[in-house]
Symmetry: C2
């Protein structure tokens, strides 16, 4: 065990809400205890609220965010199905890998990293795919894409196609309305804007997707038929599938209670304000934004590392001298981009000021 | 969040070691933080110690115990491979389901529930299978099988076959020597004898299994090639795969530190003593054991529900009047068998006395 305290301003994990930490270490309950079932149900209700969906099959999957992506494709893709994937960063690229493993014929629509998804190009890629998939908030680039626009255009063009949205870095930090947007399948992680430790993948699956699901997917652990029988119950009660990660679920429930009490809109506004202050401050310091203007995520800011600066050394000094973690870039941008997150409990002006002050010292920039 | 306290004496989760709870709520670290990497490495070392293996690829998978079973077959089974499964309870049966989904030709060797695995019958089932799989400690029946004998006989008969062992309910509560036994692949859960909340699946994979692994398994999340690059690192350092569940890993590391400090043999002896006292006390009360004599797990005791007794009502009274959770039976034994666990932190004489006293009151049996 380490007692070192960090201010986690990378791309996640972020520092949990205090309520989430309290929930994590609350007395442990059995996974079939009536008290735990109530906690699980409240967690599922809370996920419906932050996601803006009425999907009965909304639950935290027992794994980290990536398992949500795995479950999305495992339960929707049959060998030979056409899956159109919008790729504008690492997580879009990963979707192609995952879908391919389930036998999909992937049609990959590449975008320049840092740009949002181009709805028309994605829809022109195939007339009637089984699935279209895109990332709402690209963790690798700090870019928001317009899932509402993608959903509306898709419904008009190809009403049978299922829409999968990666919401790992958006859920809990932005206003969302999955049902109104026409999203069928979405997943997230707990360690970003939801303000919980990593370990669960919030997941939601529409009735339309349910009717067309793969009956017996290759992955037993992620078989939604079996999972649904535990989470939703049935005529014979709840059927045991696997032992739920009870401490993590209690932590998620506590964080969701905190978020819905503060108000989803207020939480989103808090993320916007913190992000705005950070992005203004970085500009004042002369740092150039990486993500395209008008599509920058407030909760995850990407900037170019100044040309004469050693990216690794700066991150090391921030960690050792100030206890602040920020993230490196991804792939070819590993040493040329920084990613700074203000997510969940860290979406506050004081956190923005803190990282700006520390960066200014480490980069030796004059006060603004 | 619930603040209700339970004494968890079912088949798991058990009450965590206090050290594990402290680790769970310690300040959160990033998954690439040098401090966290040290914690992860110590956790992997601790798993090697309790398992008795030198396998470099030993790690906690990011899911509950069942994901260990999934990973075992996902990384070893190619379509058409013959997999012999010893079935003497629910988890053996589940192995058949999981292996079948990866395309295995499963040869199922059924045993009466409550009996241990019959080594000769299992080996006679096929001359040279790709995989033989068995459960070390069957959670559904409370039976121990002799994996050492199975391993020795298998090596003599079919040296190329991989041996998979389910150690969900044994790891951390029994002396184990995987390498000496000839086990290639093993998995466990954290919420039983390891004394940690549910949420991780300890996993180990031998060098022999590594050489014959499936290069690109259907499940991206459990691809050991990718996972190994993060856990073991490589020439270019550690490659990001997914965000590790840092709080759960810190909790596991704390529990393993506690177990190895107490001593693996001493911990196993503590489990034996607690189980012996419980099984003696139940016999004094006139309750009949379910598991075959000589093969009863000390950490998980199964008894027949007396004929005139309503199983559900007794469990409800134990929970509401005494705060004690015990488990029902599984499948056809749901209302005729109880499962009482004394695992991890609960493997103590006082816990045995406590559940015996409460049961005696609820069943209205005279003092022994």
């Amino acid at each position: 065990m380490s007692l070192t305290e960090r201010i986690l301003l990378g791309p996640g994990p972020s520092n949990p809400y205090p309520e989430a930490t309290a929930g994590l270490s609350a007395p442990l309950l059995g996974h079939l205890d009536p008290e735990f079932i109530r906690i699980l149900e409240r967690a599922c209700d809370g996920l419906r609220t932050v996601w803006g969906t009425a999907n009965p099959l909304t639950l935290p999957l027992s794994g980290t965010g990536s398992i949500g992506m795995e479950a999305a494709f495992a339960n929707t893709v049959r060998p030979g199905d056409v899956v159109v994937v919008a790729v504008n960063g690492l997580f879009g690229a990963r979707m192609c890998d995952v879908a391919t493993r389930y036998g999909a014929e992937v049609v990959r629509v590449d975008h320049t990293w840092g740009e949002p998804v181009d709805v028309e190009r994605v829809l022109d890629a195939h007339p009637a795919p089984a699935v279209v998939a895109a990332v709402h908030a690209e963790t690798s680039t700090g870019v928001e894409s317009d899932i509402a626009a993608l959903g509306a255009a898709l419904r008009a063009r190809s009403p049978e196609t299922l829409l999968v949205a990666d919401c790992v870095t958006s859920l809990g930090g932005m206003e969302m309305a999955l049902d109104a947007w026409g999203v069928d399948v979405a997943y997230s992680g707990t360690q970003k804007c939801l303000g919980v430790a990593p370990g669960l993948a919030p997941f939601t699956f529409s009735e339309r997707a349910w009717r067309r699901r793969v009956a017996s997917p290759p992955v037993w652990y992620l078989d939604l038929g079996l999972l649904g029988a535990y989470v939703r119950g049935g005529p014979g009660g709840r059927a045991y599938h696997h032992t739920a990660p009870v401490a993590m679920v209690a932590s998620l429930e506590s964080a969701l209670e905190r978020i819905t009490r503060e108000g989803v809109d207020a939480v989103a506004e808090r993320h916007r304000e913190a992000g705005r202050r950070l992005q203004e401050g970085l500009a004042e310091m002369g740092l150039e934004p990486f993500a395209a203007e008008g599509h920058r995520l407030p909760q995850l800011t990407t900037v170019w590392v100044p040309e004469d600066v050693d990216s690794v050394k700066v991150r090391e000094r921030l960690l050792t001298e100030y206890g602040i973690e920020i993230g490196a870039g991804v792939g070819e941008y590993a040493s040329t981009v920084w990613r700074i997150g203000l997510m969940g409990h860290n979406a506050r002006p004081d956190r923005a000021e803190l990282v700006l002050a520390a960066l200014r010292r480490v980069l030796d920039r004059p006060a603004g």
